[in-house]
Amino acid sequence: MSHGPGTAGGATVKERADLALNNEFLRKAVKFTTERLKNGKLKAMEEHGNWEEWRERGRQIRLHTIAHLDYYLNMFVENARANGVHVHFAETAQEAVDISLSIAERKSAKSVVKSKSMVSEELHLNHALESIGVEAIETDLGEYIIQLAGEVPSHIIIPAIHKNRFQIADLLSEDAGEKLEADTKILAGYVRRRLRAKFLEADIGMTGCNFAIAETGSMVLFENEGNARMVTTLPKTQITLMGMERIIPSWADLEVMATLLPRSATGQKLTMYMSGITGPRRAEDADGPDEMHIIIVDNGRSLQLGDPEFQELLNCIRCGACLNACPVYRHIGGHAYGGTYSGPIGAVLTPSLQKNIAEWDDIANASSLCGACYEACPVKIPLHDMLVYLRRRKVEAGYGNKIENAGMKGFATLLSKSGRFNTVIKLGKIGQKFISRGGEIRLKVGPLAGWNTYRVTPTLPKKSFRQQWGTLDAEIRNGLQEMSPDIKKRMEHAIKDRAKGGGHGHGHN
């Protein structure tokens, strides 16, 4: 996959984040959008009231379902089959891809229209489909735009958050073969017309799944544009990709999720459309798919089951509230995280799904551990604790030894270069886990032997002054820069709209 600015070009979060920090528009757009969504959520929480009770209820339902996932998943599968759905199981991404491709081949499909699915992003399914000559078309407005750009989503809810209207006009003009004005209405109107034809001629519709209701075998989709309805209504074959943990027991439980998800994602009382699909069309119906497949995907999810520190990750309802609350995400944007999922949830989920804690550890460090993500989470997942567990696990995974050894080599050579000093401070923070008690270090070995004979060394702060300086400096400099009058006008306009229009203005998929 080719990547635009900020999507690749760095092996570490730090390098990818530097790219993002250099991109003035991205930083401002991400900040503006996340604040808009965050404020929308706060307003919706207050308006609805008793938010803590709803959160606790949401958490209990998710905990209960995951604790009995085998039971509820079996129930869902049996009911979905009774509804006439073809259910498939995929332990790995490759298996899910293979099943999808074999359905497409069986159907001699030329094109697949897709509504937003994070699982499909995990699988890199579009490329697989294209490799067998099947056109895969993302139909969510933001997803269509980034697909044209050859990029990946940078925000779980607003995937094209990092593109401005002029960049979008260029992409769509190229697609249209004529010059389109950089006007939102014109651009959205073009996509509507263009995709109408695609919906009507596509052989297969492909969706994700927000929730799967065990007791009735129904799958539920939340959206604002209507494209998920198109995808599940028009093509003759429907394929739904479902993470195995998407289950809830009943429609009664769906009310709780429908209360938490839209409010947490965008501040809406409910998305414009919420659809419960129960099997393919009935014999006498004149629309809806003739054939419906649901592919239940593990792809690393079961690694978190039975793990007391990470099992609650499976409670996630993919609302994106933790991204909007996260001061780090707001600065570096989604692509810096380098995985399908960004923000605090991505920082924990990516290494957990991939079982390679070592390689992804630097994501866990892209967090200030301030706990804003936990506070924002509608099902109370302790993400900030999980970030600490991840850091600890890297040490436990054997990387600790090298660090400890390095720490024992003495100061002299290390202090000669500031770069090395920085490294040591960083390593020291990890190394000291083994020797600090109550914020003090009394050990009398290695480089601390002399000092600690008569004194106590305080543990290193979470962030050294030097590390903080970089951020403060950037904040001050960027904060003082004038916004371009164009962006400023638009943002002021948006704020005015929000002030006069209650919940509206927060919509998107």
């Binding site: 009995h68 079996n74 199981f89 069986r106 995937p159 009664a252 699909i277 004149a286």
Partner: protein, 243 residues
């Protein structure tokens, strides 16, 4: 691909594979949970919304007011009408005002009773799924206006719920440029949950293929957070509360 196999045979093979895999897949989950697979329904003390919420209810006037306020705040339109005569008048005026050429409606007695064909002689009015030769998705896609009856509504979120059937196409509330949805006033509940529990109660076998909650016009803020109405679904939605 083995083309000699019929599609039915292939589906059967896939199902056999799926059933074999189900055992290991779900068995794997049980063993991760460090216990044998449970056969009996686990007690679920937190099912559904909190009790204080289930007791929450507005009177009819308040339900109408709240539905209206919410629906208007997201860009929809609401009309409060007394009789189906008034509904006929509203739809006729609106169709004339918009110079609607194609109208598609669900095949329901209340809508047949409107006699729109007589009122709008110049418009082509199709009735969903009344002719097996017609391409009904295309009829809906070309329609300027779609007319539907709403099965349930929830005032708290201004949601209109439409269920699919032989006579009620999903396309009719989705593909036309303008959607006109008629809500008999007694179908408006306070909470979403009042509608949802009915699906639990009726049970799997009695559910339609499509249950759609529609809470306003289609929208997106994907381009620079700038709100756009009518991205894929209808951009203009009228909720006519009758009775």
């Amino acid at each position: 691909m083995d083309t000699t196999k019929t599609h039915e045979e292939w589906l059967r093979e896939m199902e056999e594979k799926s059933r074999a895999k189900q055992k290991t897949f779900i068995g794997g989950i049980s063993s991760k949970l460090r216990r044998p697979m449970v056969d009996d329904a686990p007690p679920h003390p937190f099912r559904g919304s909190p009790d204080f919420w289930n007791a929450y209810e507005w009177n009819e006037q308040e339900r109408i007011n709240r539905f209206t306020d919410n629906f208007v705040s997201v860009g929809g339109h609401v009309q409060r009408l007394e009789t189906m005569e008034e509904v006929r008048g509203f739809i006729t005026d609106k169709a004339n005002e918009l110079s609607a050429k194609y109208i598609v409606r669900q095949n329901e007695p209340e809508l047949a009773g409107l006699n729109l064909e007589d009122e709008l002689p110049d418009a082509r009015i199709s009735v969903w799924n009344t002719d097996p030769e017609q391409h009904w998705k295309a009829r809906s896609a070309e329609a300027d206006i779609g007319v539907v009856m709403v099965d349930y509504a929830a005032a708290y979120t201004s949601s209109m719920v439409v269920l699919s059937s032989k006579d009620k196409g999903r396309s009719v509330s989705l593909l036309p440029t303008v959607l006109i949805a008629i809500i008999p006033v007694e179908r408006i509940k306070t909470r979403l949950g009042e509608v949802m529990v009915q699906f639990d109660e009726s049970g799997r076998a009695n559910l339609p293929a499509g249950i759609h909650f529609i809470s306003g016009p289609s929208r997106s803020s994907d381009i620079e957070n700038d709100l756009t109405i009518g991205v894929h679904g209808p951009g203009v939605v009228y909720a006519l509360i009758v009775g």
